[in-house]
């Protein structure tokens, strides 16, 4: 599906290179659906967390048992968190279905192999070092970088897509008494119910951190132009994606 869209648009606008879609329709649609679901998951996840802002290790934990982390928040702040659960699972469905669509199409269109796996030479120490140095100095990316992901982007996207999101789903499943009655390995491999909850929280923090850096980088590169590109798929004046 992604390939078709890309090719169709590409063949129609053969004359002007600027018209060539930078992101395939599928990548754009899944990006924004995922944005919606992610925001809803963070808000509702925080709502659920407020009921009991304490973390444990192992199978069980509660008031009167040792914790590994106490957030400086009162219990049940904001009242019962039922709305949070309704919202969390609705958003989770959107996130998982969008993620599946993205992952399957990304594999089939070779998007992952071509655009996310670090290219040859990108993984050398000197290349990584200079890339990291540029990032830390908030150096505005070169114009041609608008058309291809740099190695730090590629690595962080790979970690997010293939590690953090699957980990969120895995530990989420581990917290479902119905799912674990059918598939106990979700919870046993997570090291227990409360451990799964704790990992779920920390992985969520890493995802939020990723989004903050991602948005900061987009702002650095030109928020309006980059956001327009993610909506229309087109880069004005940019080079064609390799």
């Amino acid at each position: 599906m992604a390939t078709t869209t890309y090719l169709e648009a590409g063949t129609v606008s053969n004359t002007t290179r600027a018209e060539t879609p930078h992101f395939s329709l599928l990548v754009r649609v899944t990006h924004w659906l995922n944005t919606i679901s992610f925001i809803a998951l963070v808000i509702s996840g925080f709502g659920i967390l407020l009921a009991h802002p304490r973390f444990y290790w192992g199978e069980t934990g509660g008031l009167g048992t040792p914790s590994i982390l106490d957030l400086p928040l009162p219990f049940m702040l904001g009242g019962p968190s039922g709305w949070g659960r309704y919202m969390h699972f609705q958003a989770a469905w959107l996130c998982v279905l969008t993620g599946l669509l993205y992952a399957i199409s990304g594999l089939m269109s070779q998007h992952f192999r071509k655009n996310l796996l670090p290219a040859k030479g990108q993984l050398s120490w000197s290349a990584l070092k200079s890339e990291l140095w540029n990032h830390l100095r908030f150096k505005k990316p070169a114009a041609e970088e608008a058309c291809s992901y740099n190695v730090l982007q590629r690595l962080s996207y790979l970690v997010v897509v293939f590690f953090l999101f699957p980990l969120m789903i895995w530990t989420g499943m581990a917290m479902s008494p119905a799912v674990t009655s059918m598939f106990p390995f979700f919870v046993t491999s997570s090291g227990g119910y409360e451990t799964a909850r704790t990992i779920h929280f920390f992985a969520a923090n890493l995802l939020v951190l990723f989004v903050l850096v991602h948005v900061a980088m987009v702002c650095l590169a030109g928020f309006v132009q980059r956001t327009r590109t993610m909506i229309t798929g087109r880069v004005s004046g940019g080079k064609v994606r390799p």
């Binding site: 008031l63 039922g82 609705q90 008494p177 799912v179 009655s181």
Partner: protein
């Protein structure tokens, strides 16, 4: 030609839409027939709830069992959520050691019955050590003893028309289960916690234990059980007191 194309497109689109609507209607009918639509399917969170419930019902059709633990894994602390009703008749029954307490079973059953606590304790007992998580996030492992709900259901002869079992407690937290969870091997009416009579704050004299759902589905302070074919006319029609407070009816999560 372009007119032809647009007309063809229009007809195709019309047929597709009609097929889509009919298909959705038929799908909803079939889903409802197989018990895949939760009572709180309406509202903005309905789609997510229905997807979750239907998916889990299909996956767990085999009656999968929740994990059971060893006695050494039993938690030292069993937190209390929702203390005992402070009002009569509960306090009066508690003071009398529940000698006058009766469990009423009615609705779609062949033999509407009432049972005393002693009668329930003489039924074949079952003990299990399971994990229970509160929707808030805390959890514990405890040993529960009671009678399997399925045993009581066979005793009173539940009609084939029944689709839900409603639990009426002495407090306001009434709730219901679908029949797959009611007949489930780990669903029972518990009167004993960690080797002792159920403490008042934990639901004395009798509470439900549902191993495959969150803690709030394990209704405490039972006084009546009713079998119905639909939740439409029970309470606000959403299957439980929970949706009014924002919590989903199905808590297998």
């Amino acid at each position: 030609m372009s007119e032809n194309v647009s007309r063809r497109k229009l007809i195709t689109a019309g047929l597709t839409a009609a097929a889509g609507v009919t298909g959705l209607g038929v799908a909803a009918k079939i889903a409802d027939h197989y018990g895949l639509i939760p009572p709180d399917w309406g509202g903005i969170w309905g789609p997510g709830e229905t997807l979750t419930y239907a998916t889990q019902r299909l996956l767990m059709a085999s009656g999968s069992l929740a994990r059971e633990f060893n006695r050494s894994e039993v938690s030292k602390v069993v937190p209390v959520s929702g203390p005992q009703p402070k009002t009569d008749p509960y306090q009066r029954l508690l003071a009398g050691g529940f000698a006058d307490w009766r469990l009423t079973i009615d609705g779609l059953v062949a033999r509407p019955s009432t049972f005393s606590l002693d009668e329930i304790k003489r039924m074949p007992a079952k003990t299990q050590i399971t994990h229970q998580a509160c929707e808030e996030g805390w959890s514990f492992i405890a040993e529960w003893t009671g009678v399997p709900l399925s045993y009581v259901m066979n005793l009173v002869g539940v009609s084939e028309r029944a689709k839900f079992v409603v639990f009426w407690p002495f407090d306001d937290s009434w709730d219901s289960l679908d029949l797959p969870d009611a007949y489930h091997a780990q669903t029972f009416l518990a009167y004993n916690l960690n080797g002792q009579d159920l403490p008042a704050d934990h639901g004395a004299p009798l509470r439900v234990r549902v191993a495959r759902q969150l803690g709030y589905k394990s209704v405490k302070y039972l006084q009546k059980i009713t079998f119905v074919d639909s939740m439409k006319h029970v309470g606000d029609g959403r299957g439980s007191a929970e949706p009014a407070g924002g919590y989903s009816w199905y808590a297998g999560i």
